[in-house]
Amino acid sequence: MHQTTVRVAEGALDANETIAEANRADFDAHGVRVLNLMSAPGAGKTSLLEAALRDTGEVRVGVLEGDVRGSLDADRLAHLHLPVTQINTDPAFGGECHLDANMVRSAIPEIPLAELDLLVIENVGNLVCPAEFTVGEHARWMVSSVAEGEDKPLKYPLMFRTCELVAINKVDLLPHLDFDLAGFRSNLDQVNPEAETLEVSARDGSGVETWRERLLGLAAAG
């Protein structure tokens, strides 16, 4: 018996990237633009989608819900009468904390791509893992709520670095919090000087119209 060194020189996540490319090719074949929407748990992804998707105008929107367990978020969106597909990550090793390209791949047959212009993938609430795994999306956005504190871009730089737009949610709470909005912007600028921000409140509706226009505008970006 002897030891041999085998050169690998492969990105650990290359296999995920390959599947993500296959997903993107499927989405492109149907002319569907895909948003990967990420945040910490409880930042308000589902609430902002509910607020924005009440009226989708001409744009045909579907949602892919990623959760560790259950269909609570999909149930909340049911009244919008949009195609909502649920993925649960718990059959995997203890319940994965993010969606990966393969989980999305396995859900694609259940998504009516031919009837959609825009697919919003609501990722599992988590600021760490989803940053590493692309799923075949065209755009990556985040929701960051003011209740989380202004230091989050510095603590989770990879997540904030990989997103083009950050919706700052729950701004109706600003009078009650010590959240430093200018500090948040400055921290975000340190890790991602190119990121756009939108101030929104799913609760009182402020900024929601702009958020809705930007969201639906993704469909035309192809």
Partner: protein
């Protein structure tokens, strides 16, 4: 926790290249811009390797790759994530050029999450087929 998924990906990459031979060492390069704590990765690598066919008992080696950005406007190069200072004041990261403040930059290094090579155990080639002695 998130190192588990990455550890599983590393084990899978090693297995693909092992071609059925038992793996004893997996060498990786991990850039400082990845949110990977090598010690945590090592722990989860042990768990993932345990469940694998060829990597059980394999050792994970890593090389930490420093982060370096280059400004697209003035070509200044800088480290956006210097190692944390001992007093924990290490949250100084900036992806904006310290010389000209441009936001246009490219990553020279630090984004790596690469399986470089693996060591596998091979039976010694029998000197002659007639010998018949197992390696």
């Amino acid at each position: 926790m998130h190192e588990l998924a990455i550890a599983e990906a590393i084990v899978a990459a090693a297995e693909r290249h092992a071609e059925g031979r038992p793996v004893t060492v997996v060498r990786t390069r991990i850039g400082r811009l990845r949110q990977v704590v090598p010690e945590n990765l090592d722990f989860y690598f042990g768990l993932a390797a345990e469940l694998s066919e060829l990597c059980t008992g394999a050792e994970l080696e890593w090389e930490r790759v420093p982060s370096l950005l280059r400004c697209g406007a003035c070509s200044e190069e800088w480290d956006p994530a210097p190692p944390p200072a001992e007093d924990e004041e290490g949250l100084i990261v900036s992806f904006r050029c310290p010389a000209c403040e441009s936001s246009d930059h490219s990553v020279v290094s630090g984004d790596e999450l690469v399986v470089e090579s693996i060591d596998v155990t091979e039976p010694d080639a029998a000197p002659a087929a007639a010998n018949g002695e197992a390696g």
